[in-house]
Every structure is written in structure tokens, then in C-alpha cells.
Symmetry: C2
Subunit: 350 residues, 2 copies
DNA sequence: TGTTAGCACTCATTCAGGTAGAGTGCTAAT
DNA sequence: ATTAGCACTCTACCTGAATGAGTGCTAACA
């Protein structure tokens, strides 16, 4: 527990300690190597001897802001140290805004493509790994249903859900279906199901509709099954890019750690909490340092996420994963910049 | 050029050399370490001294079947050696057929999911990296078109292409569209475009149709644009899984090589030739050793591919990527097994 | 009282030297 | 044709010494 040489607890961090901590962190971010007292004494404008710095560093270590990997090594920032850095020093913003290429706008056609493109561009720009989540409509409501006959015995069911998500399914019919009956059935389905979400398409409703359908009871059953399947279908909602960038940072390149991280990216497993908003309605930019992310594989990484908005109430997230010594300033700037561009795109699209 | 101690060229490989080569390869496959003459002399039933083996190995090296990494190391198989091994020894098939879980069939709903599942299961079963290509219909023909109004000013265009691929696009209309006109327009589009492929939906046709459409000329133009876009749209056709498995093999784990390989898998770039059938109509199982694959990143790997059939004339490929010392027997068996299961699935689906 | 110089100490890294062991090629004997 | 034996080569591994970056502590200083 932090106590100075007189045995008095040090609770508050003063100006000088803060400067030293800042110096340690930025030096470590640049080199990835533990930084010693002499380096700080020489390369800052504090005009203090290495001995003094040592005393201060000793205090900072007691306070938990820095860590000594082994007895005679320099210090590296702890999660708590990074946290302080991010919280305080990041406030005075870096003004050199990173101009991201306008490539985005050109390629923008469908949401999926935009998001994949974003992931890729961010990864290329930052040299970190990126993840982008597509917003999920939690209570997906049926907006529109269209049955059509592709051939005598093959029916296509098109379902449009909230957010203009289109799902389609084929139904193979055992006997030819009378084309004339289609409009009526379309009408029936649309009036019955419009505005309902998955939980409301339940057994009772299906039963009732089957009765109404009379001779078409069987086929209505099949159609409803497919509609339910289509609505409940979860498709990919997480895109990643630049996972191999982590191999650029020696502290993440050790075999075991790299394998875990890369596997996490490949299988997109275990990052759900981080990347969807179900549990976490906070917007804006979030920084998770080390174990704060609650992702086992990323306990030696930092993660920066940003929330983007497609329309009112519909949000997705972008995440950047890198070493703890990542360039937070640049990452935050780049993300803010990206958000702006995404806003523009989505504004133009509607 | 291969010459024995009498200066006579050795052209043909005899029984004994073959046995020795086989022993070298299987030993190397098990250990991943260069294998020396003493090992072979001790652990085979040839009853030859290490010296004799050395002579034979020297010949085998002259003939290009094995390589000495450095002067006083054992030998490892060359690409040519593996090739011989695969061509000859693989013939007598290993009978212990790997029973792959029937998980596949349960999860089988849509083609994409089946293929992703296959990639994943194969990767888990073999501990190698896998890739699966979805068949691409080369000359995609329009099978069916359906326009519908989702709201006053929003039209949904559904296009069904060869192979029951469904594409959909929204069109935002500047002014409300008369619902009554839809059937007529649907009829016009279907009769005009049915059976045409992308190359046939050209300027001339578009011009002609616009004329026919009269007052709807503008909207027909938009619709045709979207149809053309939908038909030409290339979606993902390559799924990979288990890329991180390569880190299990020391000879592929060196940083540079691993990065290249993993990047290739992540970006799915450069493996097109290997994984689609455009240039290569051969079916069945193919083995590419080292540079044979013509994929730069895989020059120290072997690749085994198998062709599967969805319906007559529609083929896709499955590929397994591992170290050159991969267990070819097991891989080939597993692939054959998988093919059978896929056949079953696709038979039931139609 | 805060700051600093000096010193003894620790520990990771590097490098040279040395050894063990696996393997080879060649030669002479069987 | 096969083998035993030997000299040789090269890698892997260990050791010990030197280096240097870094620390903590103490005593002196302003």
C-alpha cells in the first residue's frame, strides 16, 4: 500500500508525479521497452536527477500506476496508469486530424459492404486489428411479406423486416399451386402478420391462421414456419479486419497469446458483450484497458470502441484492438473522424 | 545430376530406395525433424547398416527426392519426394475411415451455412486450415423478377438468378408510384429479361425497354440499373476456418511466414486459382505440394483440394492447407468422407 | 526538507569458448 | 554389395565473463 519514506500514505498524485508518469507512458508507447529513471531525467524538461526520478517512480509504483517487470528493469505502465493517462491526458485533443480517404463514400452501396470497408480501412490506417458490429434490431417486426411462384412447385417467400432487412426462403410444394390464389394469400399474410415480432408469431396465431386458410391450411403452415425461421435467423453481424496486425507488436506476438487473439478474431467469439449495445447503452467513445474489456484473450490489449448511429435508436459499434501502448490519441481521432463520415453516408442514404 | 559411385546415372528408383524414402517421409511427418541414416537403419525391417542407408540416401538426394538442410543434418523430403509419396503410396488406402459427426445434416439449412459448417468441422477434425468455395454460376441468367411496393415511395426489386440465388434491392422513388401499374411492369420485365445473362442486359436493350415503357421510362431505367447491379454483384464465395491451426506447426510458425499465411486467409486473396474451377475442370482430389499451388504464401505448405457437386454442372471446392508433412492419408480420407456427406445433403435438398 | 551524488547490488543480454551428439562421406576390409 | 571404422562438420546447448541498464539506499548539500 502506497507509503512514502516516512510511512505516510500518499493518496493524491501531484503535478510532478503526473508529468513523470506521462513521460514514462509516452516513452513506453514509443519503444515498447521498460523505461528507466535516467531516460526520464534526460529527456524531459523537469531538470531533475535520475535519483529524484527514482524516488518519484518508487512512489508511483507504490500507488499502482507503474510496474517493474523484474528487479533491475525500468518501469512499464500498469492498467491503472494507462487509465489515468487516457482519462486525463487525452482531454487536450490532438489537433492533427487524420484524413481518411474518401474511398468509403464511393464504395458505399449496401450496409454490409460499408461496414466491411470501414473495418478494412481502419485496420490499414491504424495498424491495429478492427471489429465492426452491424446493428441488430432486437425486436424484429415484420414489415411486409410477398409470396411469389417461381415455378409450378416452387414458391419464394420474401419477408421485409424492420430496418429494411430482406430475407428470402424457398418452399418446395408437393403439388402445383394455383396462381390465382396468390393475391388472396398475400393479403391474408400481410394483414395478419404486419407489425408483429417473432414472439408474437406463436402457436395460437399459427393455429388460428391455419383454420382461416381452409384447404390451404397445410401450405400456410409451411409458409409460416419459413417466415418464423427467416425472422429469427441471425446472420453475421460482426466483421473484423487486420487481425494479423497484432503480430506487429512483440508483446502480443508470443505464440500462445497470438493464437488466442487470432482465434478470437477468426471465430468472433467472446466479444459480443464488447460489441453490441444490448447491455450497454452508453454512446461515444469507450476505452478498455487490459482486463477491463472482460475478454480473456484481450487481457494484454487495449480496446477502443465507438458507437455509430444508422437511424434513431439503431446503433452499431466499431472497435479497435491493439497493444496497451497503442496510440490512443490517434485512434480516438481516427474513430471520431470515421463516425463523421459514417453519419454523412447514412444521412445521404435515407 | 544423379550419379552413383560408379559414375552411372541412376534413373529408376528401386524397391529398396522406395522403402527408404517412405521411411524417411513417414518419420519426418511424425517428428518434423530431419531424419538420419541411423534412425532408418534401426527402425525399419530392412536390416541394413546405417552406412548402406547413407549410400542410398546419398543417391536419393542426387535424384532430388530428399534434401539436406545443412552438411551434418539428416534429410528431409523435397517437394519431389512428397510428390512420389503421394502418387504411389497413397494408392493402398487407409481403411480406418474417419467418422465425421453428423452435425452437418442437422444444421443444414442454407448453402452458405452448410459450407461454413463444413469448413469448421474439417478444420477441427484435421487440425489444418481449411477453405471452401461456393460455386459461382459463371453466366448468371435471370430466372424471375418481382417488383413490389413496400411503401408509397419505396420499391423492392427481387431478382432470382440461376441456382436459386436471390438478390434484392430497394429503390427510393421520388414520387409515389401507382400500385395498379405494378402487375403490368412485372410482366414486361419478366418477359423481356427472362433467361438473359448479364452481358445481354446491355445498353441497346435498356434503351428499347425504356421506349416501350412510355411515361415510366425513368423508373424502368432505375429498375434495370438495379437488376444489372444485382446480377453482377459478387458476394463472398470463399469461407475459411481454422487458419490459426497453422501455428501448431513449428515449420510454419516463423513470424514472417505465419503473417503471410494468416493474411492470405483473412483477406482470401490470391487463392482464387486454387479454389475455383474456371480454369481447371478436373474433378476429384488434387494434391499440391509446395510451389505447385502457385500461391506465394503457401510455398512451404501442401494443399489438398476436393471438388464437390451441387447439381449437374455446378461445382465447388474444398481445400485443406497444412505443412508439407501433413497426414495425406487422413486428409484424403476425411475429404472423401465429407464429399459423400455433402452429396447426401444436396440430394435431399432437391 | 527536498534534492542530489555516489555506491553497491541485481538482473537480462550478449558473446566467446567448449563440449556433446547427431550426422555425413570416404576408405578399406569382408 | 555391404559394412565397420574414422575423420570431419555442424548444430544445439551449456558455461562463464563482461556489459550495461537499472535500482535502492545513504550521506551530503542548499
Amino acid at each position: 500500500m502506497s507509503a512514502n519514506n516516512k510511512g505516510v500514505m500518499i493518496v493524491e498524485i501531484d503535478e510532478r508525479k503526473l508529468k513523470i508518469l506521462q513521460a514514462i507512458i509516452s516513452n513506453y508507447m514509443a519503444t515498447g521497452e521498460p523505461v528507466g529513471s535516467r531516460t526520464i531525467s534526460k529527456y524531459t524538461d523537469l531538470n531533475l536527477s535520475s535519483a529524484t526520478i527514482r524516488n518519484e517512480m518508487s512512489d508511483l509504483e507504490d500507488m499502482g500506476y507503474i510496474i517493474q517487470p523484474h528487479t533491475s528493469a525500468g518501469r512499464i505502465p500498469s492498467d491503472k496508469g494507462y487509465r489515468l493517462y487516457v482519462d486525463t491526458m487525452l482531454q487536450k485533443k490532438d489537433r492533427e486530424v487524420d484524413e481518411m480517404k474518401e474511398l468509403l463514400v464511393n464504395k458505399a452501396d449496401r450496409l454490409e459492404n460499408v461496414l466491411k470497408q470501414v473495418a478494412k480501412l481502419l485496420a490499414e490506417n491504424t495498424n491495429y486489428a478492427t471489429m465492426v458490429s452491424k446493428p441488430r434490431y432486437v425486436h424484429k417486426k415484420v414489415k411486409f411479406i410477398q409470396l411469389t411462384l417461381v415455378s409450378d412447385t416452387q414458391m419464394l417467400v420474401v419477408v421485409v423486416i424492420d430496418g429494411n432487412i430482406v430475407k428470402n426462403r424457398f418452399i418446395n410444394l408437393s403439388e402445383p399451386f394455383d396462381k390465382e390464389e396468390l393475391p388472396q394469400m398475400n393479403f391474408l399474410l400481410n394483414t395478419a402478420l404486419n407489425g408483429l415480432d417473432l414472439t408474437e408469431i406463436n402457436m395460437a396465431l399459427i393455429h388460428k391462421m391455419k383454420e382461416q386458410a381452409g384447404q390451404y391450411s397445410e401450405i400456410i403452415g409451411m409458409i409460416l414456419d419459413e417466415i418464423a425461421a427467416a425472422v429469427s435467423e441471425e446472420d453475421d453481424y460482426l466483421y473484423t479486419s487486420g487481425a494479423t496486425n497484432i503480430l506487429k507488436y512483440p508483446e502480443l506476438s508470443d505464440k500462445e497469446m497470438a493464437t488466442k487473439l487470432l482465434t478470437t478474431f477468426e471465430e468472433k467469439a467472446g466479444i459480443g458483450n464488447l460489441m453490441n449495445l444490448d447491455n450497454n447503452e452508453e454512446h461515444g467513445i469507450q476505452v478498455y484497458i487490459g482486463e477491463e474489456s472482460n475478454v480473456e484473450a484481450m487481457k494484454d490489449c487495449s480496446v477502443v470502441t465507438a458507437t455509430y448511429k444508422i437511424e434513431e435508436g439503431v446503433y452499431g459499434k466499431i472497435g479497435i484492438v491493439g497493444p496497451k501502448r497503442m496510440d490512443y490519441q490517434k485512434v480516438v481521432n481516427t474513430l471520431e473522424n470515421t463516425m463523421k463520415q459514417l453519419d454523412d453516408i447514412f444521412k445521404n442514404k435515407n
